[in-house]
Every structure is written in structure tokens, then in C-alpha cells.
């Protein structure tokens, strides 16, 4: 086997594998850090009312209202993508995607809460979550660049803060 062929074999099999291993380690490091960060911020935000009611409870007196939102775009790492591809052959839960969407949902909620706090609202009601797929920049439009998670609701100030 001459040098060129060896190089070819290395490029064909070694490189994708190396990227896979690298993607796994980098991806799970980023994921662990993000979860730690989320737990910390969620603890800080835990006293802040975030409610899915469309109508206010009768005893709440609202001062002012406004739209608040938080959104985030998440993407897959190569490892998750490959495992999900294999999963797609046999079906079943794509477990590698679950932490990703969980992170996206919690991050979007936290951003919404943080923006609502900055605007001086006391609570958020009628909270909704939406996702949309962002198409890849590939010419055939195939594949997914990432998923957007949008959390939005109505920020309200209360006349008497102790109501909430």
C-alpha cells in the first residue's frame, strides 16, 4: 500500500470518525455547561410567575401590559446527527435530540423572563411556546440548520404585587 492509498484510507474512514469523537466530547461538554447554567438561572427566576392562563384571575388588578418574548436557535452536533440518522433506520425515540430541545425550551423561557423583568413587569400570562425549523444553507434545502424555540406571553404589572 503506497503513501497515497494510505492517506486515502485515512481520509475516508479516519477523518469522519475523528470528527465524530471530537463532536461527542465538545458537544457533551457544551451541553453539561448549559444545563448547569440553566439550573442556576432557573433557581433565580423561580419566584417569578409565568402562567399559561388566557384570562386573568378575577382578583388580579393589572397596571400595564406588553408582549414579552425570548427565543433561541439550537443546532445539532455531528455525533447527535449521526446517531439520529441510525435511529431513523429503525425508528423509536431519538434520545440524543431530547436534551437539545429541553435546553432550547428552558433557555427561551429564561430569556423571556429576563426580558420581562427588565421591562419592569411582575408576571407573564398566556405564555406560549413555538418552534420552527430553520432550513439549511445547502442548495437542495435538505437537512436542518437548527431549530428555533420561541417563548412569548403577556407581561403584566400588578397594582398590588402581593396579589401574585
Amino acid at each position: 500500500m503506497d503513501g497515497f492509498e494510505k492517506l486515502n484510507v485515512v481520509l475516508q474512514f479516519g477523518l469522519p470518525f475523528l470528527i465524530l469523537v471530537l463532536a461527542y466530547f465538545v458537544g457533551s461538554m457544551i451541553e453539561r455547561r448549559h444545563f448547569r447554567n440553566l439550573r442556576k438561572r432557573e433557581a433565580e427566576a423561580s419566584g417569578y410567575p409565568v402562567i399559561t392562563f388566557e384570562t386573568l384571575p378575577a382578583d388580579w388588578t393589572v397596571g400595564s401590559t406588553g408582549l414579552v418574548s425570548g427565543n433561541v436557535v439550537v443546532s445539532l452536533d455531528y455525533f447527535k446527527r449521526v446517531i439520529a440518522g441510525l435511529r431513523g433506520l429503525v425508528g423509536g425515540r431519538i434520545k440524543t435530540y431530547e436534551p437539545l430541545l429541553d435546553r432550547a425550551r428552558r433557555e427561551a423561557m429564561l430569556r423571556m423572563i429576563e426580558s420581562s423583568r427588565q421591562s419592569g413587569y411582575d408576571a407573564i400570562v398566556n405564555v406560549r411556546l413555538e418552534t420552527s425549523r430553520l432550513a439549511n444553507s445547502r442548495r437542495d434545502g435538505d437537512g436542518v440548520a437548527g431549530v428555533e424555540m420561541l417563548a412569548f406571553g403577556t407581561g403584566i404589572t400588578l397594582k398590588n404585587r402581593r396579589q401574585a
Partner: protein, 271 residues
């Protein structure tokens, strides 16, 4: 109404299973499933082959030339000479159902192929490197040996069936490309047992034609000497025995059959 904050379990939405466990299960499980299906398909091809007679195969593929083979001009005198040599050798296989056709592919690799319908393709690289007609005769005899054992159609059938299989399961994404490459490496060409049988028959043809088997394995000795630099390893050596083993086996074969290993050698002029 009061809002009472509660600590929420933040792990319900994420599976407990470690991603590497999932990856391992999927990779091993799918590999086993693919291997089982591939083995079943290979078996089916071998079964189907029992029902396609060599005569029928020869008729079906009588004018066929695979895509991607750059054939040298038909009037080329090398093709004529090669065809004559093949016909002379094939005469010694008395009940051959094939009418052998020879084409030269303009390719620097050292290779010869047996394809359905009695088509033998020799690369111009191989023609340039042979140093006597006897060497070339053995290469042709070896390919004719594949026809006798019908290895060529077995390999083609497997290749086609496995390609369809891999395209079907994956629709051509990256996972599929990987499995395609692996199947190419492992299943293209013939097994070592098939190669040994073809060597035996090839040597017999050479003996019947020349009365001796001198220089039959010189080609492989030379290739071995040159440290295989000219040979496409993946396509050739992975399925062929190593040149040294092969030469040793051929010498043994010649001795046990009483075929003389020396004799007048014909020049390779004209090939």
C-alpha cells in the same frame, strides 16, 4: 389567587440513557441486521445462479460492455493478437459454453477482469508490463478459470444486489456512503478460494497450450519484487492471495501434476 413557586424536576424531558450506550446499541444492532440481510442476499444470488445456465448467460450478455471501460480501438492489433491468444487457450476447455471476447481498457493499473457473457477485459497497463506471451497466457487462463467456476457472475450479482440494498435502506446519506465503501472493499472481486481454483484451471490451460508452464508466475514474482507499488491494493490484493503465497502454490501445483516448469518461452511482441 396566589402564585406559589415549586421546584420542578428538570430531568423528565431527557432520557436517562447515556448517549454512548444508545450509539453502541444502534451501531452493533444495525451491523448485525445488515450482515444478516447481506448474507441472505448473497445466498439468494447463488441460488438464482443455479437456474441461469452458462449458455443463457452468454446469450444475454453477448454484446455487453460495461460503462466506464475505455476500450481501445477495435482494429488495434493488440486486441486482435489478444483475442487470438484467448481463443487458442479456450480451445483446451472443450465444452466451454462461452465465446470469449477480449477488450483492452486504457488504464495504467495492472488488472484483468472476467465479466458476464465471456468478456475479458485486460488493462493496457498489464499488457505493457508483461514480458512474455506465457505470462499473459496465464493471466488470460486465470480469467477463463473464473468463467468455468462462474465466479464472475456471482460477484456481479452480489455487487448489484448489495448496491440496491444499501441504496434502498439509506437513500444515499452519509451513513449509506460508509456502508457502500465497506461493501465495495469486502465484496468486490472474488474470494481466495475462487482465485486458487481459477489459478489451477489457468495453469492447466497454459500447460495444454505450450506443453510446459514456464514463466506463468513470473508476473506475480515481479509484482512481489516491486513491493506492489503498481497495484491497487484495495481492489486487488484484499481478495487475491499475496503474490509470494500464490507463486509458491502454483509451483507446487505444477510439480504435483508433472507439468514442466521450464520450456521455450514466446516473446510478448505484438501485445
Amino acid at each position: 389567587m396566589r402564585f406559589i413557586p415549586k421546584k420542578v424536576d428538570d430531568s423528565v424531558n431527557v432520557s436517562k440513557e447515556h448517549p454512548l450506550v444508545e450509539a453502541g446499541t444502534l451501531v452493533i444492532g444495525l451491523t448485525l441486521i445488515f450482515a444478516a440481510i447481506a448474507a441472505a442476499l448473497i445466498l439468494i444470488v447463488d441460488l438464482v445462479l443455479l437456474f441461469v445456465s452458462p449458455e443463457r448467460e452468454a446469450a444475454m450478455f453477448s454484446n455487453w460492455l460495461p460503462d466506464g471501460i475505455v476500450a481501445v480501438e477495435e482494429e488495434d492489433k493488440r486486441v486482435v493478437a489478444l483475442q487470438a491468444l484467448t481463443t487458442r487457450l479456450a480451445r483446451h476447455w472443450e465444452d466451454s459454453p462461452y465465446e470469449f471476447r477480449v477488450e483492452i481498457s486504457a488504464d495504467d493499473d495492472l488488472n484483468a477482469m472476467a465479466l458476464p457473457g465471456g468478456l475479458i477485459i485486460v488493462t493496457s497497463g498489464l499488457l505493457d508490463s508483461v514480458e512474455s506471451e506465457n505470462e499473459l497466457a496465464f493471466v488470460l487462463g486465470h480469467e477463463i478459470g473464473h468463467f468455468r467456476n462462474r465466479d464472475h457472475i456471482r460477484a456481479l450479482g452480489r455487487g448489484v444486489v448489495l448496491t440496491i440494498f444499501f441504496v434502498a435502506i439509506s437513500g444515499g446519506d452519509s451513513v449509506a456512503n460508509l456502508s457502500m465503501t465497506i461493501s465495495d472493499l469486502t465484496l468486490r472481486g472474488f474470494s481466495r478460494g475462487q482465485e486458487a481454483d481459477a489459478d489451477k484451471f489457468g495453469l492447466e490451460l497454459v500447460y495444454k497450450e505450450y506443453g510446459h508452464v514456464a514463466e506463468s508466475w513470473r508476473f506475480f514474482e515481479r509484482v512481489g519484487d516491486e513491493d506492489n507499488a503498481l497495484i491497487d491494493i484495495a481492489a486487488y490484493l484484499s481478495t487475491h492471495p499475496s503474490p509470494e503465497d500464490r507463486v509458491a502454490r502454483m509451483i507446487e501445483l505444477a510439480e504435483s501434476n508433472g507439468w514442466p516448469v521450464t520450456g521455450p518461452v514466446v516473446e510478448s511482441e505484438g501485445y
